[in-house]
């Protein structure tokens, strides 16, 4: 007990931090439970609990809905949200840009393009058709490669232009370019194969099965753990590459590992959930705002939890929640949170407009 207290004092962690983290976790748990408990089909909460803890439920279809639709959906929402939150925090530090995020900078679009090339391009050749596992890994790998490619291009541009707002525009252009290439591929593609592509552009956590989670869960967990291990060098990178190099940090290898993590998470999440926007952008800013701290030891875990909370609640609003019959694309809900955050950041940085952080 004293050791824990000493630890808290040692890191000068104020009460604010404990309260905020407790609130984040409580919200995540609440969001997780509500996503399992509520849906288009009404199932009493007691029955949901019974099914979760191994019971049969009153009808077989209820068990299937809870165990094979709602549970993987909620788990995917947590994993995707956490990974995107962490990825956004990493990118904002690496790019020295408060608006950096896998979706905004076109990394997700690059992943869609990579996936589209494999899904549509292998139509006539057919060397992947029929081999579901190979195909799945092929699509995921291509998505990761596409994400990595856009990341490298965006970083090259960011180094040249520096101005955060310009980098944002460059990212949007990468997004348009990738989107246009996907459109061209679609135009010439075998119509039967288009079905496989539809979910990519939408962004949803509903289509992920237990089988898919065998890939999604380990990749997301690895990315989150590695990113949190990178907290110390990320803190020092806040001072800029030049300072970091004189403070005992191997700048290039650290940047490489961090970017690889972002490419993996953006690629995997895009391959299974499509492009989910604004989570990586908002979560870190909300955490910094609530905690009033840029320390990555709190921002990275905090962004993971808040990212999960955002996706859970966005999915609850977007998906069948039993209140409305409509189901919306996830991105139209996340944009309601995301777009105001972007505007707020731009307004706040108005005074520094044109000033290039180096």
């Amino acid at each position: 007990m004293t050791a824990v207290a000493a630890g808290v004092i040692a890191r000068e962690r104020p009460l604010r931090l404990v309260i905020c983290f407790a609130a984040f976790v409580a919200l995540a748990v609440f969001g997780f439970l509500i996503l399992i408990a509520r849906g288009t089909v009404y199932i009493p909460i007691a029955e949901v609990a019974q099914i979760i803890f191994g019971g049969e439920g009153s009808r077989e279809v209820h068990r299937v809905i809870v165990m094979d639709a709602r549970l993987p959906k909620a788990i995917t929402a947590v994993l995707a949200g956490a990974a995107l939150g962490v990825g956004g925090a990493l990118m904002q530090t690496l790019f020295r840009n408060p608006l950096a995020d896998p979706y905004v900078l076109g990394v997700s679009s690059g992943a869609v393009l990579g996936a589209a090339i494999v899904i549509l391009g292998t139509g006539s050749a057919g060397w992947l058709s029929g081999l579901t596992i190979v195909r799945q890994i092929g699509v995921t790998g291509a998505a990761v490669a596409g994400a990595a490619l856009v990341l490298m291009l965006a970083l090259a541009f960011a180094r040249r232009v520096g101005n955060p707002t310009t980098v944002l525009i460059v990212g949007v252009m990468f997004g348009f370019l990738s989107g246009a290439m996907v459109d061209v591929l679609v135009y010439y593609a075998d119509p039967e194969r288009l079905q496989g592509l539809a979910s990519f552009t939408r962004g949803t956590v509903r289509d992920v099965s237990w089988y898919d989670l065998q890939v999604v869960a380990p990749s997301c967990l690895v990315v989150i753990v590695v990113s949190i291990i990178l907290a110390k060098p990320m803190n020092i990178l806040l001072l800029g590459d030049n300072y970091a190099a004189t403070m005992g940090i191997k700048v290039r290898p650290i940047q490489f590992v961090a970017l690889a993590m972002v490419a993996v998470l953006a690629g995997v999440i895009t391959a299974y959930c499509g492009g989910i926007g604004f989570i990586g952008l908002c979560a870190p800013h909300l955490v910094r705002g609530f905690l009033r701290d840029s320390d990555h030891f709190v921002v990275l875990p905090g962004s993971a939890i808040v990212g999960a909370v955002l996706v859970l609640f966005a999915e609850y609003v977007a998906g069948g929640n039993g209140l409305t019959n409509a189901t919306l694309p996830l991105n139209s809900v996340t944009a309601f949170v995301g777009a105001p955050v972007v505007l707020w950041i731009l307004m706040r940085r108005r005074r520094e407009a044109g000033q290039v952080p180096t």
Binding site: E12, R96, K232, L238, R292, S294
Partner: protein, 354 residues
């Protein structure tokens, strides 16, 4: 015992940095080296304050980057605490040498104390967990850099001068044997420059730290430094104590240019408005006479103290704060109050000097 005296970083008079036959520059696209400076030989010992001087573009920054290990040397070696710099890991280097750059830092939401705490990075593990020793070092660094009153502030709220102090505190928290600063006074006003230089001087004297600092403040460097490292425009380098380099004319050579000359008395460069103006004998005392000769220089005249052979004679007299002057020459006498009217009159005199 001063509050600054913590344990000494290294024993006194030990060479902290040695540059041996160092050639600095860049490798071109095809590996063709572009040399910026050649034959750099210099030694800095603990408890010494060295200033790196030289005209813009002569290679000061390149030399600094090479000395701190951010850039590979083209030839020669740099020894840091007796170890070859190129063989030290980034972490080992950061434990011995810390740097204050001109880069503007934008760390977001971070307290001054947390930023200074980042200076412990080369000494702590991946969790950045700090023990009492680390925390004492942070407080010492804050005090030593005069940043203790800022400790609770947010970094983004600070002025340029305050931010500079905080970055110095962060560098001190690394507990280096040598602190390297790249033009730390560039964005500061005159009084802040003098303050900062005095603060660094005290650090050197009281802790045995070695400091190498590049600057354009020639006068301040000549007054404060134990050593001057002088970079010439022709890619040569020399080092020595300030007085030797000033007396030998090396400093004047390094900055040589049209219309300026090194004023030994002031220890800095002055504008020479052409030495062919009329000679003016100045009579008067103290400050009034000093500023009268400055006014004469500015007006294109050559002031002479107690000269008998001049066609012009100027006498100044400071009474009740106002300076009264009288200018004799060409059979006329003019007089007035204040230097502004004097300069006008002297300009007229030098224009008709022929």
């Amino acid at each position: 015992m001063s509050v600054l005296a913590m344990d000494m970083p290294s024993a006194a008079d030990q060479p902290v940095v040695e540059a041996i036959d160092l050639t600095v520059g860049y490798r071109g696209a095809r590996g063709r080296p572009a040399e910026v400076l050649k034959g750099v030989n210099a030694t800095l010992k603990s408890g010494q304050f060295a200033f790196l001087l030289g005209p813009n573009g002569a290679g000061k920054s390149t030399l600094l980057r090479t000395l701190v290990g951010s850039q590979r040397s083209l030839a020669g070696r740099v020894l840091l605490d007796g170890h070859d710099l190129a063989r030290l890991s980034a972490r080992e280097r950061a434990q011995r040498l810390s740097v204050v750059l001109t880069d503007r830092v934008d760390v977001g939401l971070m307290s001054v104390r947390a930023l200074v705490g980042l200076g412990r990075a080369p000494h702590v593990g991946w969790m950045s967990r700090m023990d009492d020793e680390d925390r004492r070092t942070i407080e010492w660094a804050l005090t030593a850099a005069g940043a203790q009153p800022l400790a609770h502030r947010q970094v983004i709220e600070l002025s340029d001068g305050e931010r500079q102090r905080v970055m110095i505190a962060r560098a001190l928290a690394q507990r280096p044997s040598i602190l390297v600063l790249d033009e730390p006074t560039a964005f500061l006003d005159l009084t802040r420059r003098v303050e900062l230089t005095a603060l660094l001087r005290r650090l050197v004297d009281e802790t045995g730290l070695a400091i190498l600092m590049s600057t354009h403040d020639l006068e301040l460097a000549l007054r404060t430094g134990d050593q001057i490292w002088l970079v010439h425009g022709d890619s040569s380098f020399e080092t020595g104590c300030p007085e030797d380099l000033a007396h030998s004319g090396a400093i004047a050579r390094a900055y040589a240019g049209r219309g300026i000359s090194f004023d030994h008395e002031a220890g800095t460069f002055v504008v020479t408005a052409g030495n062919d103006g009329p000679k003016i004998a100045i009579d008067g005392d103290g400050q009034a006479a000093h500023w009268a000769s400055r006014a004469a220089l500015r007006a294109g005249c050559v002031p002479v103290r107690d000269g008998g052979e001049c066609r012009w004679g100027l006498s100044v007299d400071a009474a009740d704060g106002a300076v009264r002057w009288r200018l004799d020459g060409r059979g006329r006498t003019r007089s007035g109050t204040g230097f502004e009217t004097l300069v006008d009159e002297l300009r007229a005199a030098s224009a008709h000097a022929d």
